[in-house]
């Protein structure tokens, strides 16, 4: 019976594989970790930008009657309030996850920080997708209205307000996309020992 000795890992086997299961050049995990860090910074910018854009959306029309002043602001919609709070949470989490991302750059073969990041990223992906999609539904209504239920498209009057809330929704969906890419990248780079 022949024995396979796995301890001679300093020799190159064929195309540079030093550890069984590592598909590419040695050090590719560090590259993935650096990419993760950069994308995380982008996601921080997107989510905090979305929260800020929505929170500062406020428009008062120049005409008013004796009894009403025509004003649109994000806090007359509870969906937008949820959006601001949720995107602020997501931005805060991403800022706090930067140290863990740096740890994965320094120690690319440790499973603990990556696993922790993936699990928390999944939770916050759910939160940001939820807030982004709910706000998108309202923004769609604001742009198009709905004839069957007699809901008027308010964007026709409040142009600036509409632009800001639409921009906020787009920024939050960019953050969602970045989080999806982050999760998949971390899953690919997660240390495992099998061949398949």
């Amino acid at each position: 019976m022949s024995t396979i000795d796995v301890s001679e890992s300093s020799k190159n086997i064929g195309n540079g594989r030093k550890v069984p299961g590592a598909p590419l050049r040695p050090g590719w995990k560090k590259g993935v970790a650096i990419m993760d860090f950069i994308l995380r910074l982008g996601a921080i910018a997107a989510s905090l930008g979305a929260a800020a854009s929505m929170a500062t959306s406020d428009q008062t029309l120049p005409f008013f009657t004796q009894f009403f002043q025509f004003e649109a602001s994000y806090d007359s919609f509870s969906t937008f309030q949820f959006f601001v709070i949720a995107m602020a949470f997501v931005g805060g989490y991403l800022v706090l996850s930067i140290p863990f991302s740096i740890v994965t750059i320094i120690r690319p073969h440790a499973a603990g920080p990556r696993l922790f990041l993936i699990i928390l990223d999944t939770v916050f992906l759910t939160l940001s997708t939820s807030s982004g999609a709910a706000a998108a539904a309202i923004v769609y209504l604001a742009h198009n209205g709905n004839q069957d239920s007699n809901w008027l498209a308010i964007c026709n009057q409040f142009g600036d307000f509409c632009q800001q809330i639409s921009g906020a929704v787009v920024a939050s969906l960019v953050a969602v996309l970045l989080l999806v890419v982050l999760i998949v990248m971390s899953a690919v780079a997660l240390p495992h020992n099998s061949y398949l």
Partner: protein
């Protein structure tokens, strides 16, 4: 495990048992989520209420495809339900071959995308259902639930199945990732 020698023909049983339980739980949860999303899509798609009074020109009728977000809800949940049924195949493969890592990574990638889709459709429908219940004074949008009671109950109830699927997807992703790191 690095540095130890293995004889050819000797199969190590250490890797099989810790992740086999996770794979079985993954399979069961996938079936539950498929049923939940299918139920949600069907419950929303069969909403139809016509009010008993009608003028000569207008008929008061509410259907799910009058509201585009609810239409997105039905399509999104149907797509996710179909994906879950197809991914049962891969899940069975993971029960049989518990040390597979690359196929698990593929499954995590698809699950993440589908988590995004089902969460988006559930949330968009929820915000429309919220407006249907409460209206919005600032935009002068009237709460249609006050007239269409049955329709409203149906669209509210169908959201539950979708949110169950959201929770299950989160658990599935975490299970797969833990199984990858244990192998």
């Amino acid at each position: 495990m690095k540095g130890s020698s293995m004889e050819v023909g000797e199969v190590s049983k250490k890797g099989a048992s810790p992740t086999r339980g996770l794979s079985i739980m993954d399979f069961v949860l996938r079936i539950l989520a498929a049923v939940a999303t299918l139920g949600a899509a069907l419950a929303m798609a069969t909403t139809n209420e016509t009010l008993p009074f009608a003028t000569q020109f207008i008929k008061f009728r509410a259907e799910f495809d009058d509201l585009p977000s609810l239409l997105f809800f039905v399509t999104g949940n149907s797509v996710v339900s179909g994906y879950l049924v197809l991914s049962l195949v891969l899940s069975v493969f993971h029960i049989v071959r518990s040390t597979a890592a690359k196929s698990r990574i593929l499954l995590v990638a698809f699950d993440t995308v589908m988590l995004g889709l089902v969460t988006a459709s559930a949330s968009a429908a929820t915000s429309i259902v919220y407006i249907a219940h409460h209206g919005n004074a600032g935009a002068n949008w009237f709460a249609i639930c006050q007239q269409y009671n049955n329709f409203c109950e149906r669209i509210s109830g169908s959201l539950i199945g979708s949110y169950i699927a959201v929770a299950i997807f989160t658990i599935l992703i975490i299970l797969s990732v833990v199984a990858i790191s244990r192998n």
